[in-house]
């Protein structure tokens, strides 16, 4: 039996190939995701290893609230360093700085663009130094700098040239005296590093006498563990003391948790592609089982058992799965580097030192690929069991179908579905719950139709596909007989068309869903900014979209002196953790005196005057946070701050904010500095004086920023909205690119179905050619059929996506002022894309149909 399957496999190379590709693409994305994230992980691991070389013990600020909190004052100072040095067993200890910065050329143009981060690092004693000069030397004075090789290459920097480095507090101009290389030569993850002498690095950071880290080397005869224990006893609890190895391990595991988000994000798309692939396998197997009815009948007459038939189909699925999974695994290596390029083009430069193919990747890819294929082939295999031996004798014997469910059965299923949704939502699997709700809505519609017609069992199995087919077909009917035949052929096997189209529907529904969501988000932001922001300019870090990099607090001070500016109000973001909670609360810090003049707060309780009560103990809560944390006016909440201290604030007002500028809590800027250690501002809101025009003031602001704060830039409200839209579009494009894979997979489905259908219609096509249909007409007919099928899938996808997005947003986001927007243009483009997909998918089948051997088609079986 296996041999028979194998032979059939080889005879149907094209179909097997196409179907295998359908599986392979999903597997490839999955394998590629694992390979990419493992590679990144591994590369960073190597970087951290190098960075901790020579470090027996490392002292770092305690990251009370997680590792994503930056730009707070470090508790490590000279006094602490002295204490470490005084600890017995310490051979050498030195403080170092490693902090984000901005590199510019002497004309103020950014040298690092896109997502590659740039760091300011202080020089450290040779035993701790991870950088090596390739040319020149390390800096020795406060006017010198050594730059990493990659940045030098990218920006064409040479020894002796000058460049500007901006830190979170100050800016400096330096002569390049060295070009450096990180560690053993591995890439530093695309990041740039400027080495400065420690005092200069501290000045740029605005924290003289403070360090980000203390590196310690042990004296001979004492182990790192022992020394760590000794130092730990000496130092306060707001710092962590680790051995070098522990530090490297911690850095790696921190990174891993960040990467796991990326991994999950990418895997979602891989699973979508696999689901689409499953549709295609199911459809292909269904069609071939139907086409081989006679062959199966013959096997039955010759004494083959039902189980043997089923097994032969399953073996085919198994082999196809193995083929697809192995292909996918290999393709995954290519996909990993393609993904890397993709992220690079979206501004995220990820380190990539040698591809890592873990055995886990191989096992998971093969298991999932084979599993999906076999499962999708199971229903057709079971159907093959029902082929009667009689099928061998007669032509046109159909495999008996299961009868359609009765009304009663439908009602029972519906009730069971409702119960399932209840259970899923009760156990917190709301995603699955929502998916099931959509299925139930469709079921309910079917039930209602059935009940209204009063049918016990419906006369026809399919209604939607033929109706859509005719509607879409009317668009090509004017093309004459080819259009007319395409229309009829496309709905000839409604079930087949439905599954073929459904593969495209899945991809397009998700695209439409995301598009509607994005359009709504943009509209929401636009409306919120328009309604809430009353100022003229917003000052932000020019690394747009990177909230972690703020602007120096001094910017606000200096801007106030610019003629035409009436007020400047700084805004900063930080986090705190409410007692008893394991999640961080977002905190916005504002200037109580000026904030309400630039920003309209929608007060639930309180008024603009409430801001005056903030002081160093007050906070305004946003509505949702207040209700979930049971906060009322006058209640107090104790927060753990990033500086590892506790501070208690009293709720003085409750507001809602659709623009989401206000975090869970809003406090005064001064409290953010004193209790939360927040050095930098995130934004400055600028209001012009009466009569001042933007044409005069904005250039003046830009001149000041370029001269003193090159990392900052000014945006008008319009520009700001455009930036936000731009960020959403970038993410949207990334998602589109990833979803495109599913659409491509569904193309293979259309190709497959068409080829199989053409095979079935060999005689018809032969007759048409014999009576004078040209090859062009045949090609045209197949193309139209393909386009109609694709459009059925496209229309269904758009409807499901749009309805789904509108439902989800109005159910979950209506409270937060989500503005619904339907991106009509995008949806129209999607339909065109679907039609084009149909045209592309038809190429190969159309050519085959046109080249058909006429004689064999009309005379032979």
């Amino acid at each position: 039996m296996l041999r028979l399957v194998l032979r059939g496999f080889l005879q149907r190379k094209l179909r097997v190939g196409l179907t295998a590709v359908a599986v392979a693409l999903g597997v490839a994305l999955m394998a590629g995701t694992y390979i990419l994230t493992d590679t990144i992980n591994n590369s960073f691991g190597a970087i951290f290893q190098t960075a901790s070389k020579g470090h027996d013990v490392v002292v770092t600020p305690k990251q009370t609230l997680g590792n994503e909190v930056l730009s707070q004052t470090s508790p490590i100072d000279e006094a602490m360093l002295a204490k470490v040095r005084a600890t017995p067993g310490v051979a050498q200890a030195s403080g170092s700085i490693f902090t984000p910065g901005t590199f510019l050329d002497t004309r103020g143009k950014r040298l690092t663009t896109g997502g590659a981060p740039a760091f300011i690092a202080s020089t450290v004693p040779p035993r701790f130094e991870s950088f090596k000069p390739v040319k020149g030397r390390f800096p020795r004075s406060s006017s010198e700098l050594a730059i990493d090789e990659a940045t030098a290459k990218r920006a064409n920097l040479h020894l002796g040239q000058q460049m500007i480095v901006a830190g979170s507090a100050a800016t400096g101009r330096y002569t390049i005296v060295g070009i450096t290389k990180f560690g053993g030569g591995e890439s530093f993850g695309g990041a740039g590093a400027a080495l400065l002498v420690p005092a200069e690095a501290q000045r740029l950071l605005g924290e003289p006498g403070h360090f980000d880290q203390i590196d310690v080397a042990a004296s001979p005869g004492i182990t790192a563990q022992q020394l760590r224990a000794r130092i730990r006893l000496e130092l306060p609890s707001n710092v962590d003391v680790r051995t070098g190895a522990q530090q490297a391990k911690k850095n790696t595991s921190d990174l891993e948790s960040n990467l796991s988000f990326l991994r999950t994000f990418l895997l979602v798309f891989a699973y979508v592609a696999l689901v689409v692939g499953a549709f295609i396998i199911f459809n292909t197997f269904s069609i071939t089982v139907a086409q081989r009815t006679r062959e199966f009948g013959l096997l039955r007459t010759l004494g083959g058992s039902r189980v043997q038939l089923m097994r032969s189909v399953l073996y085919e699925g198994l082999m196809l799965g193995v083929l697809g999974a192995v292909l996918g695994l290999f393709a995954g290596i290519g996909v990993a580097s393609a993904l890397n390029q993709l992220f690079k083009s979206f501004g995220a430069d990820l380190p990539n030192n040698g591809t890592v193919l873990q055995s886990r990747t191989i096992v998971v890819s093969l298991l999932v690929g084979i599993g999906v294929t076999v499962l999708a082939g199971l229903p057709p295999a079971l159907r093959a069991m029902r082929v009667p031996p009689l099928a061998a004798m007669r032509e046109g014997v159909q495999i008996p179908r299961r009868p359609l469910p009765t009304r009663k059965a439908l009602i029972v299923r519906f009730v069971l579905g409702v119960l399932a949704v209840g259970i899923l939502i009760a156990v917190g699997a709301s995603g699955a719950g929502i998916a099931l709700v959509i299925v139930l809505v469709l079921r309910a519609a079917r039930l209602v139709v059935r009940l209204r017609r009063g049918e016990e069992r419906p006369a026809r199995r399919y209604r939607v596909v033929p109706a859509l087919g005719h509607a879409i077909g009317s668009l090509v009917r004017w093309r004459g007989i080819t259009g007319r035949l395409a229309e009829e052929n496309s709905i000839r096997e409604p079930g087949r068309t439905m599954v073929t189209a459904a593969a495209l529907t899945v991809g397009l529904a998700l695209v439409a869903f995301v598009a509607v969501l994005a359009a709504g988000t943009k509209a929401t932001i636009n409306q919120a900014v328009t309604r809430s922001f009353a100022g003229n300019l917003i000052i932000e870090n020019s690394q747009s979209g990177n909230n972690e990099q703020g602007i120096p607090a001094a910017v606000a001070q200096r801007l106030r002196a610019v003629p035409g500016i009436a007020s400047v109000t700084p805004i900063a973001f930080t986090v705190g953790r409410a007692k008893g909670s394991s999640n961080n609360s977002s905190i916005t810090a504002i200037d109580p005196a000026t904030f309400s003049s630039v920003y309209r707060i929608e007060w639930k309780q309180g008024s603009n005057a409430t801001l005056g009560l903030l002081g160093d103990t007050g906070a305004v809560a946003t509505k949702g946070y207040a209700s979930s944390h049971h906060l009322r006016l006058g209640s107090t909440i104790t927060l753990l701050t990033p500086t590892d201290r506790h501070t208690t604030v009293k709720i003085v007002g409750i507001a809602s904010d659709n623009a989401r500028l206000l975090g869970d809590l809003t406090i005064s800027r001064s409290l953010a500095k004193s209790a939360f250690g927040q050095r930098e501002d995130a934004l400055d809101f600028v209001t012009y004086a009466r009569g001042a025009s933007n044409a005069q003031v904005q250039p003046a602001v830009d001149r000041l920023l370029a001269a003193a704060f090159p990392q900052a830039r000014s945006r008008t409200a319009t520009q700001f909205k455009a930036d936000q839209a731009g960020q959403i579009n970038t993410l949207l494009t990334l998602i589109y690119v990833l979803l495109a894979l599913s659409v491509i997979v569904s193309l293979f489905g259309i190709v497959n179905t068409l080829i199989l259908s053409i095979y079935e219609r060999t005689r018809e096509l032969g007759m048409m050619r014999a009576i004078g249909t040209s090859r062009r007409q045949i090609r045209q007919m197949i193309r139209y059929e393909s386009v109609i099928t694709a459009l059925i899938g496209g229309v269904l996808g758009l409807v499901i996506g749009v309805v789904g997005a509108v439902l989800v947003t109005s159910l979950t986001l209506s409270d937060s002022g989500f503005v619904q927007a339907i991106p009509v243009g995008t949806l129209a483009v999607l339909l065109v894309v679907a039609a084009l997909a149909g045209v592309i998918a038809a190429q190969l089948p159309a050519r085959r149909a046109a080249r058909l051997d006429m004689l064999r088609a009309i005379s032979g079986e």
Binding site: G480, G766, M768, A770, I771, G772, T773, R775
Partner: protein
């Protein structure tokens, strides 16, 4: 409805090779014939395994005649018809159809020739299942993008007797009805010649008589030219002329005779 068939069966062997209409005075166009072949050869395979399906066939089919080609399986009768109709290319030799040497034509010209000058009737009817009877009949015109001559359509539909079945799809028609639709389809474009490939092969005897009667009528009343391949002596008896092929050669060329005589002839030819 009176059919020409009964007449054909009764027609004595000596009746000249002309239809009643031609005999009645309209000028026959026999100059060189409507379809003719010269030294046609068709070889399949190469070297020692090569088989000559046609081994030098020179034949002429005059206009407004009904010719039947018979022969045992593998005699080359289907190959001959395929080449005459422009469906296949000979290894050597020429075919002229309506004054055009079709063996010189490319695929596009051949397609147009078949579309505009040739009608086909197949053993397996070969109607498009997604179109109703009317659409199937009009298919050749639809393909050519030509206007429908309603009078001609009505005449055809009346003649073949499916006027009340026009909106039915093939699956809702009997075999005989389907083949009658196919006959109408072959005639709708008023082709120069109709090729029929075992038109009665899948029909019961009643339907066979009906359909062959229609072909007879097409020649007699509509001035069509019909070339039919068949292995059924009864079907061949409806024709004017009987050609017998064996091993790629013409072994008999004469007037069509009665079923019994045809059977005897075939037996004699071995």
């Amino acid at each position: 409805m009176p059919y020409a068939m009964s007449q054909a069966d009764r027609r004595p062997a000596e009746v000249p090779l002309v239809s009643s209409r031609v005999a009645a005075g309209t000028e026959p166009r026999v100059s060189g014939g409507l379809v003719s072949s010269w030294e046609l050869r068709r070889r399949y395979g190469e070297g020692e395994a090569a088989v000559d399906a046609l081994d030098g066939i020179t034949v002429t089919f005059p206009a407004r005649r009904f010719a039947a080609i018979m022969g045992p399986s593998g005699s080359g009768k289907s190959t001959l018809m395929h080449i005459l109709a422009g469906l296949d290319q000979p290894t050597s030799g020429t075919v002229t159809l309506d004054g055009v040497e079709i063996t010189q034509l490319g695929d596009r010209e051949l397609t147009e020739l078949r579309r505009d000058h040739v009608g086909f009737i197949f053993q397996t009817f070969n109607l498009l299942p997604v179109l109703d009877a009317e659409e199937n009949i009009l298919l050749p015109l639809s393909i050519a993008g030509r206007r429908v001559d309603r009078d001609w359509f009505d005449t055809l539909v009346q003649t073949v007797g499916i006027a009340d079945r026009l909106s039915h799809r093939p699956a809702e028609l009997s075999g005989g009805q389907q083949q009658r639709v196919a006959v109408a389809r072959a005639l709708i474009s008023r082709p120069s010649v109709v090729f029929a490939d075992e038109p009665s092969g899948n029909l019961d005897s009643k339907s066979t008589d009906h359909v062959l009667g229609l072909l007879r009528q097409a020649v007699d009343e509509f001035e069509q030219t019909v070339v039919m391949v068949t292995h059924d002596a009864h079907a061949a008896s409806f024709a004017d002329r009987l050609l017998v092929l064996a091993d790629g050669r013409i072994v008999h060329d004469g007037e069509a005779v009665s079923t019994e005589q045809t059977l005897d002839l075939m037996k004699a030819l071995g």
